[in-house]
Amino acid sequence: MNAAALLLRYLAISLRGQLQYRASFLMAALGNLLNCLIELAGIWVLFDRFGNLSGWSFAEVAFFCGAVNATYAIGELMATGFDQFGTLYVKTGDFDRLLLRPRSTVLQLAGHELSLRRLGRLLPGLVIVVVAWGALDLPVEADRFALLAFAMAGGVAFFFALMVLQATMCFWTTESLELMNILTYGGVETASYPLPIYHRLFRRFFTFVVPLACIGYFPIVAVLGVDDPLGTSRMFQVAAPLAGFAFLGVAIGVWQLGVRRYTSTGS
């Protein structure tokens, strides 16, 4: 059985397990839904007071917000095993069990759990994108959809990579560090607003170091069909999500280093 099929099997099993605890699933999903709506309400209040955000309309900003929330939800959904890696695998020594199996550790952890509660962020995110799409009168075109899908795929890789990096630190610290939340939750918050409103240093950081803007702002500018006040070309905007995949490649490389450390210290 190939890796993709195995991953699906893992996930199917995880889903069935979660559906047994219906109440817990519903509560958690509801919590995520509220979180997402409150974020949007915050943006709306801002616009209600000031009308626009340096030239960006409410619908445009809502589009950013919806897209990044949906993207993050999928990334987090797939990376639950990494999110809980320290407590579930390093502290208990259960990581040995994964090493004893003839499959990559990344694949096994991706299949650890498909956390359904994340749907509470995914669904409203997608609804916001669809409504904003209508409000902005964007043409319904295949290449716009394709670009949005590509941006989201790059974004899923990006957020997945952040979780992998967070888990990697556990090889040194045992417990999951909340440090990475600055980049995950903070990243979602940041990418909910257009990049030009931030200071130059922030823009550089989120483009070249942690390529959040490459999977959010840049490609979405192209989807919206507006000119980038920062002056980037369409070509750059369309290709930018590749940075998300590259970032994942780097993260997996770092992960392998962590695994090597684990197998030489045995703890």
Binding site: M1, A5, L6, R9, Y10, I13, G17, G93, D94, D96, R97, L99, L100, R101, P102, R103, S104, R260, T263, S264, T265, G266
Partner: protein
Amino acid sequence: MPQIEVRGLAKTFRVAERLPGLAGAFRGLFHRRMRDVHALGGIDFDIERGELVGYIGPNGAGKSTTIKILAGILNPTAGTCRVDGLTPWRDRRRHVARIGVVFGQRTQLWWDLPVIESFDLLRDIYRIPSEAYRDNRDRLIALMDLEPLLDVPVRQLSLGQRMRSDLAAALLHGPSLLFLDEPTIGLDAVSKLAIRDFVRELNRDRQVTVLLTTHDMDDIEALCQRVMVIGNGRILVDGSVAALRRRVRNERVLVVDYDSAGEAGRVDAEGEGVRLVERDASRVRIAFDPDRIPAATLIGALLAQGTPHDLFIEHPPIEQTVAELYAEHDMRER
């Protein structure tokens, strides 16, 4: 060529020394003194295909470290190891596809999944062809009597049931080499016997090579032709169970039952290679060294003194043998 070839295998762990008290813990945040712990000090051994080898030693002697290195999940500090031509820690994924590992302390199954679903998932993880999988699974289910457990989630199994399921799970992909790390720990007598029978048959009928660590000397006596004793990271003895006994103390015990305590009290059992161990009512226990006095001579001498109604020869329990070996090497549990 041996299936497992180990040369000069050494493992040193660096551990941070803990300073006592809260103040010490704070100081440890900034400045840590590291200490080297030599878990394995360069060991050598070969294991041939089809052998069933017992691997014993006190806690902390290096048993688990050896198993982890052989299984490919721990890198040694020095030395080489080839298992079926592969270096376990370098070719980990190819290597683990060909071995089975069972840790008595920890299950390899999915806690929330029914046993049969764990098996099915392992089929996909190990890419076992459907036909081979069905054959193996059905045979293992029958052998380990797992039928009634198949739909039970692993977390609801008793320890013995779990261990049987774990053993079956480790063999679904038909490995030719099996590592068992304390497979009988905490089991009741019936479960222990079931596990032993199973391992013996596996080794005999399927020629699966088995390396078994245990604290239960009955496991060793019941199963192993060969035993390796490790202490302080070195292999102290490597040979047959009989050789291990000989190496420590070549002594047997003759147990003689008389009709009355009075008769037993009159027995004189002192002499070259003979000593009286205890006199308990009508029973006398006499230790003797068969190299210095043949059993027949000793028995002849006893018959000349009186008429026992029963007598038999005991081997000293291997626990005692191993305890003496440890004492000889001044090993304390670390």
